[in-house]
């Protein structure tokens, strides 16, 4: 199944979590080690939540579910994320 979106769509939902711009951040896949800009991840959703998969090996790297009173962020498929610090506050 083709992904319906890519990581560009994570910009808004993850702005609630990260102060730095997330779509240009580089995330490393725990499964295959590939580094990708978050914008390049294959994203499925938006309901019931967003699942972002590695464009190389298709393993789930990030899951994001928004409940009325909570944000669930599962980063178990990511080794590390490199973010450029926000300078705009």
């Amino acid at each position: 199944m083709d992904a319906t979106y890519d990581g560009n769509i994570l910009a808004g939902p993850l702005a609630e979590v990260f102060t730095a711009e997330i779509t240009t951040a580089v995330a490393r896949c725990r499964n295959c080690g590939r580094s990708s800009a978050v914008a390049e991840l294959a994203v499925y959703g938006p309901d019931p939540g967003l699942v972002a998969r590695c464009p190389g090996c298709a393993e789930a790297m990030l899951r994001l579910v928004r409940a009325p009173d909570a944000i669930w962020l599962d980063l178990s498929g990511v080794i590390a994320i490199r973010l450029t610090p926000s300078t705009s506050g």
Binding site: D2, A3, T4, Y5, D6, G7, N8, I9, A11, G12, P13, A15, E16, T19, E21, T23, T24, A37, V38, A39, E40, P46, D69, S86, S88, G89
Partner: protein, 251 residues
């Protein structure tokens, strides 16, 4: 529940803010442009998007992302929405949302799929269907500000599906350094030497930039289109680091 206040522009970007529908017009039989007014809009880059949130009377909420179609005009922003047949949000925005109605927006969002006027290199824009919207924002942002050479390859099913057709024809004449080429996948206009068919290597070779230059490629459309177009660009020898893609739902 108390929330920590976050000062500065970041709070503007992440907060849901009221947006008033001040104008709307049809671009095609299934796509319309909506003009929204958002107090203290901070401006945005070409290619950025907003999240739009609707709340029903019973409290049910649905949000979707839409590309900004043009540079901001003060507090006024434009999005162009393609009505998806089984969509939950797009038919409402295109057909039902009443003038002066208030919805919520969050943004501007995204820093990856953007073009800045200070980027002087040649640009290839490859659009599939309503994937034209953020690319049109780049074309509009460029006009009168930048001389970066732009080439647009725009794939549509039939001539009736062309969004911004009149403006693109006008800009191809008036905006120096902008070339526009059309790819029709099902029905081509009378006299078009190109038979209907999907975007191919010949289209990119004939209307794109040579892969050994310093062109940046922006590709936007449905997932299948974006995958096919990026595969063609890579096969032609374009640097993967200079291909930026944005995919959205839909067939």
């Amino acid at each position: 529940m108390a929330r920590a206040a976050i000062p500065g522009r970041l709070s503007v970007r992440r907060a849901w803010r009221p947006a008033v529908l001040v104008d709307r017009w049809a671009e095609t039989s299934s796509a319309s442009t909506l003009v929204l007014e958002v107090d203290d809009w901070p401006g945005h880059l070409a290619g950025q998007h907003v999240d739009v949130q609707l709340t029903a009377e019973d409290g049910y909420q649905a949000s979707r992302s839409y590309s900004l179609a043009a540079p901001a005009d003060g507090d006024r922003i434009e999005i162009t929405v393609q009505r998806l047949p089984r969509g939950e949000v797009s038919p409402f925005l295109v057909d039902e949302l009443a003038p002066e109605a208030v919805l919520e927006v969050r943004g501007p969002l995204g820093g990856w799929f953007v073009w800045r006027a200070k980027d002087r290199g040649p640009v290839l824009l490859v659009a599939g269907g309503s994937g034209i919207v953020p690319l049109m924002a780049m074309i509009r942002a460029r006009a009168g500000v930048s001389r970066a050479p732009f080439r647009l390859l725009y794939s549509v099913r039939t001539p009736q599906d062309r969004i911004y057709a009149a403006e693109l024809h006008r800009r191809a004449e008036d905006d120096g350094g902008l070339d526009v080429a059309w790819v029709h996948t099902r029905t081509a206009p009378a006299g078009d030497p190109r038979p209907p068919g999907r975007l191919g290597a010949d289209d990119l070779a004939g209307h794109g930039w040579p892969p050994d230059g310093d062109a940046t490629c922006y590709v936007c459309g449905p997932t299948g289109f974006v995958e096919a177009a990026s595969t063609l660009l890579l096969a032609a020898g374009h640097d993967p680091g200079r291909i930026r893609t944005e995919r959205f739902g839909g067939a």
